[in-house]
C-alpha cells in the first residue's frame, strides 16, 4: 500500500519526443515503499459523506487592484472576453513584477537551449478523450501502473489571484460537451465553511517556469466556479471537489479541451485503483514545474469516502487529477479523484467520485 513512484517533468514538454522521454525517465526516483499507513484518528473527525449532494456555482469573482469588493463584468465585457480570451488584468497583471521577483530564484541554465525548447513546444495537436465513463473495475485487483513519461498538458497549474500569483492549486481539463470544464479540489474554488469564492482564477496547461515560455499553450480565465454545498457549508473533505468553467483563451483563442484535450471521468468505482497523479506541489521544485506520482491508491478509512496514497505532494498539488488507467501515449485517462489533503507523514488523500460528482460535472458544463 502507498507504494508509489514520482518524478518531475523534464525542462521540456511532452511534445519534445526523445529529449523529454529520456530526461523524464532519467529523473524517475526509485519507487518509495512507505510502510503501512495507519488510518488517521482525525482531531477534527470528518463526517461521513453528507446528505446534501447538490452543488452551487458562482460567476468566477474578479478583484483588481483598487477594487474594494469583487468586480462584476458587464454582459458586453463577458462577450468581449470570450472573443479576446479573458480580462488582460487577470491574465497578465502580475506578470511583470512577479516574474521579476521570481527570476533570481530559479535562474535557468542554457538560454539558447531553453529558447529552442520553448519553440518546439509550440505545436498544437488537440486530443479529445472519450466521454466520461463509469469505472467498472471495483472488484479487480489494481495493477501497478506504468511509470509516467508523459507530463500531459491536459493538466496544469491553477493560479488563484491572477497569473503567476503566489497562490495556486492544480487542475485538469475533462471532456464535457461544452469543452470548457476543469476539475479541481473544492477548496481551490471556495474557502469552505465560513469562506468565500476565491478570486481571479487562471488555468495554465503544462505551466513550466523552467522554460522561457512559462505558458506553452497560453492561459484560460475562469468564467464560473462550482463546488458541493457540503464543502461550502461544512468543509467536508469527502466532498472536496470543485469545477471551473473557462472562457475560450490560450494561444489559439479556443476552448480548453479543444486546445489540450480532456480526460474522461470515472465514478462509482472502488476506492482502490491504479493511479497517476499530476500537480504542482511547492515542496518539489517550488511548484515551478509539473510533477507526477503513480502507484496504487488504497482506501483511506472506513470512516470516510476517500482514497489515499503516499506521494508527499505538499501545498499547491491540491486539485491535481488522480488519473486511473493513464495512457502515456495520449496523455489522457479517467479522473477518478482529485488531490485534497496532505499530512505530516506525506500521505495524500482524495475524495471518492460517485454519481454526485458526475452530476456536478454536468452542472458545471451547464454553467457556460
Amino acid at each position: 500500500m502507498g507504494v508509489s513512484g514520482r518524478t518531475r517533468t523534464s525542462r521540456s514538454n511532452r511534445r519534445l519526443g526523445a529529449i523529454a522521454l529520456a530526461a523524464a525517465v532519467a529523473a524517475i526516483l526509485p519507487a518509495t515503499g512507505t510502510a503501512a499507513v495507519p488510518a488517521w484518528a482525525d482531531t477534527k473527525p470528518t463526517r461521513a459523506a453528507g446528505s446534501d449532494l447538490s452543488t452551487s456555482s458562482s460567476l468566477a469573482p474578479v478583484q483588481l487592484p483598487g477594487d474594494k469588493a469583487a468586480h462584476t463584468y458587464s454582459p458586453e465585457q463577458l462577450k468581449a472576453f470570450e472573443r479576446t480570451g479573458g480580462d488582460p488584468a487577470v491574465l497578465a497583471y502580475w506578470t511583470q513584477e512577479r516574474m521579476k521577483a521570481a527570476k533570481p530564484l530559479d535562474a535557468p541554465g542554457d538560454a539558447a537551449w531553453i529558447e529552442n525548447t520553448a519553440r518546439a513546444v509550440a505545436s498544437k495537436t488537440p486530443a479529445v478523450a472519450t466521454k466520461p465513463m463509469p469505472a467498472t473495475i471495483a472488484k479487480k485487483v489494481p495493477n501497478y501502473p506504468p511509470p509516467v513519461t508523459n507530463f500531459s498538458i491536459t493538466n496544469g497549474k491553477l493560479f488563484i489571484g491572477g497569473y503567476e500569483s503566489g497562490s495556486w492549486c492544480s487542475a485538469s481539463a475533462i471532456n464535457t460537451p461544452s469543452t470548457r470544464v476543469l476539475i479541481t479540489a473544492g477548496h481551490c474554488v471556495h474557502g469552505g465553511q465560513g469562506g468565500t469564492w476565491l478570486t481571479n482564477l487562471v488555468f495554465v496547461p503544462g505551466y513550466n517556469a523552467f522554460n522561457a515560455d512559462h505558458d506553452p499553450v497560453g492561459r484560460f480565465q475562469a468564467y464560473s466556479l462550482r463546488t458541493f454545498n457540503e464543502w461550502m457549508n461544512n468543509s467536508n473533505f469527502n466532498r472536496d471537489v470543485g469545477w471551473v468553467t473557462t472562457f475560450s483563451g490560450g494561444d489559439w483563442g479556443a476552448t480548453v479541451v479543444d486546445t489540450v484535450g480532456g480526460h474522461g471521468l470515472a465514478y462509482n468505482g472502488g476506492t482502490e485503483f491504479d493511479v497517476s497523479i499530476f500537480g504542482y506541489p511547492s515542496n518539489h521544485d517550488g511548484g515551478n514545474t509539473m510533477w507526477a506520482c503513480w502507484g496504487v491508491a488504497t482506501d483511506s478509512s472506513i470512516w470516510d469516502d476517500r482514497s489515499q496514497i503516499g506521494c508527499n505532494f505538499g501545498p499547491g498539488s491540491s486539485g491535481g487529477p488522480w488519473i486511473w488507467d493513464y495512457d502515456n501515449g495520449s496523455g489522457l485517462g479517467w479522473v477518478r479523484s482529485v488531490m485534497s489533503t496532505v499530512d505530516d507523514s506525506g500521505v495524500n488523500r482524495g475524495p471518492y467520485f460517485d454519481t454526485a460528482v458526475l452530476d456536478g460535472t454536468n452542472a458545471a458544463d451547464g454553467d457556460w
Binding site: 484518528a41 500569483s165 497562490s167 478570486t199 454545498n229 461550502m232 501545498p315 489533503t341
Partner: protein
C-alpha cells in the same frame, strides 16, 4: 489582491449570478443558499494571512520570498508561498550589515499540525521580520 468578503456578500453575488443565469444556469439550489446565509462570520480570510513565526517547525525548508515592504523602520513584511496558516509556520533569518539587510525564510509544519490533515493548497502569506537596527536606507536582499 483578494480582500475579506462577508458571507453575505458571497450570497448576494450568488443570488445575482442566479438571476443573471436564470435562463441557462443552475437554479435549483436556493435552499442551500439559505444554509450559506446561516454560516458564521468568516474565519478563513482570503486576504494574505500572516504565518506564525516559530523556531520549532517540523521539517522546515527554505522558500524564496517574493516581495517585501517595511511595516515600520524595524519591521519588514515579506511574502512567501506556504500551505494554510493553521498548518504552517515560518522561521525568518536575518543578516544585517551597514549596507544591506539580508533575509531568508524557512517554512514548515507547525508542531501541532502533526497528525492533522491540511488542504494541499499553496497560499501566498506574509511573514513579519524584526530587525536589530532601523532599516533606514539599507537594501533588502535575499540571504543565500
Amino acid at each position: 489582491m483578494p480582500t475579506r468578503q462577508s458571507p453575505r456578500l458571497a450570497v448576494l453575488l450568488l443570488v445575482g449570478v442566479m438571476v443573471a443565469l436564470s435562463a441557462c444556469g443552475p437554479a435549483a439550489e436556493s435552499s442551500s443558499d439559505d444554509d450559506t446565509t446561516a454560516t458564521p462570520a468568516p474565519n478563513a480570510s482570503p486576504s494574505p494571512g500572516t504565518l506564525p513565526v516559530r523556531n520549532d517547525l517540523v521539517n522546515p525548508q527554505v522558500v524564496p520570498w517574493r516581495t517585501w515592504r517595511a511595516v515600520d523602520n524595524r519591521t519588514l513584511e515579506v511574502t512567501v508561498t506556504a500551505g494554510p496558516i493553521d498548518c504552517y509556520g515560518a522561521e525568518p533569518e536575518v543578516a544585517e550589515s551597514e549596507a544591506a539587510v539580508r533575509v531568508r525564510v524557512r517554512v514548515g509544519l507547525l508542531p501541532d499540525a502533526a497528525g492533522k490533515e491540511c488542504p494541499a493548497i499553496a497560499q501566498e502569506s506574509v511573514v513579519l521580520v524584526r530587525l536589530a537596527a532601523p532599516l533606514d536606507t539599507r537594501k533588502v536582499e535575499h540571504l543565500t
